[in-house]
Symmetry: C2
Subunit: 203 residues, 2 copies
């Protein structure tokens, strides 16, 4: 059976982003149900925040927004029966995990790895910037971490992630998660369903 070119949904996310966590958990199974291919697009949200004049997450800069978000995350995760523990550090630095994601583009285990990292950050309260944490997220998937971490650390891959963040800016992305579906932007975990419907518009 020849591979069919499925319509795509791009999932732009940062591993430190709270609302990216439920989206990351749900997108692959939803996409499968709807016959879509997920493109995992990790990027460095902090670089985009900097350009908006925010040296930190807006959830830290604007306490009202932050207070709301933490309660909202609890409700969302409760509704979906998803474990959630507020991390002791927020936002965590997802650069290393994003480099692994970039280096592993197209790998069949990529979705599982992404979810492992989000679980490390938002359930286990682990420092995802720590290479040993990333290593264990690979090991738990029965992968040999060394060649993967080497590929992640290669200059070309670091450059590729930088290019990807630049592309996020060019696309007009200003937050995470963001979905690109049929050339249109949908911002926020709330919009996953709408983005999926939009991807199938011309399908």
């Amino acid at each position: 059976v020849p591979a069919v070119d499925l319509p795509e949904i791009e999932f732009w996310f940062d591993f430190g982003s709270t609302y990216s966590y439920p989206a990351a958990v749900n997108i692959e199974k939803l996409a499968e149900v709807h016959g879509l291919a997920v493109k995992w697009r990790a990027f460095v949200l902090g670089a985009i925040f900097q350009e908006q004049g925010w040296p930190d997450s807006p959830f830290n800069i604007y306490p009202l927004k932050g207070r709301y978000m933490w309660r909202d995350m609890e409700r969302i995760c409760q509704t979906q029966d998803l474990d959630f523990n507020r991390p002791t550090t927020f936002p965590r630095n997802g650069l290393l995990a994003a480099r692994v994601t970039s280096a592993a583009e197209g790998a069949p285990w990529l979705g599982s790895f992404v979810r492992q990292i989000f679980t490390a950050n938002f359930v286990l309260d682990l420092d995802i910037a720590d290479i040993d944490v990333v290593r264990s997220c690979l090991e738990v998937l029965d992968l040999d971490p060394n060649p993967i971490l080497d590929a992640a650390a290669a200059k070309e891959n670091k450059d590729a992630l930088r290019t990807q963040t630049d592309r996020a800016k060019q696309l007009g992305i200003f937050g995470a998660p963001t979905f690109i579906s049929n050339d249109e932007i949908f911002w926020g975990n709330d919009r996953l369903g709408q983005a999926i419907t939009w991807a199938k518009r011309d399908a």
Copy 2:
């Protein structure tokens, strides 16, 4: 038949707020279906933005957010078969209409008036700060505008609206629309359905 005390959903909105428009159109019929009473809570969002350090709408201050919002509004209104024209002035000053809303608390025509003002702003591109526009929104409902506008302009009513905006701050409201349902905050037009479900939790 004695009146039944329905569970309530509070709808906090500003007449200049784009996403408040579809929420205002939908909330009353949705609430009716689910056996809820709508409490219309107009407030002055600009006063809250000022406290966050924003002298203008964040959609004007952050162009990426603004560009996304205008396209998103088009999509939302298209999906709901709702007329929408980007106003030539944004955000419009909804103070006068908010004062009418405050003065008319409990009036059976209040929902219709709120929708007329949103239509004036986001469909007809009229200046809702103009007393003649507000007057015509009342007249089209077969109301005598004069006593209503007098009540809106009364000092006690102006104070009541100021108190309402202060209450919004105390509740932790930072944007519009916001729903208060069973003592919890839900922010954004997207969350209307969730807020309705939450209102019925203990019902």
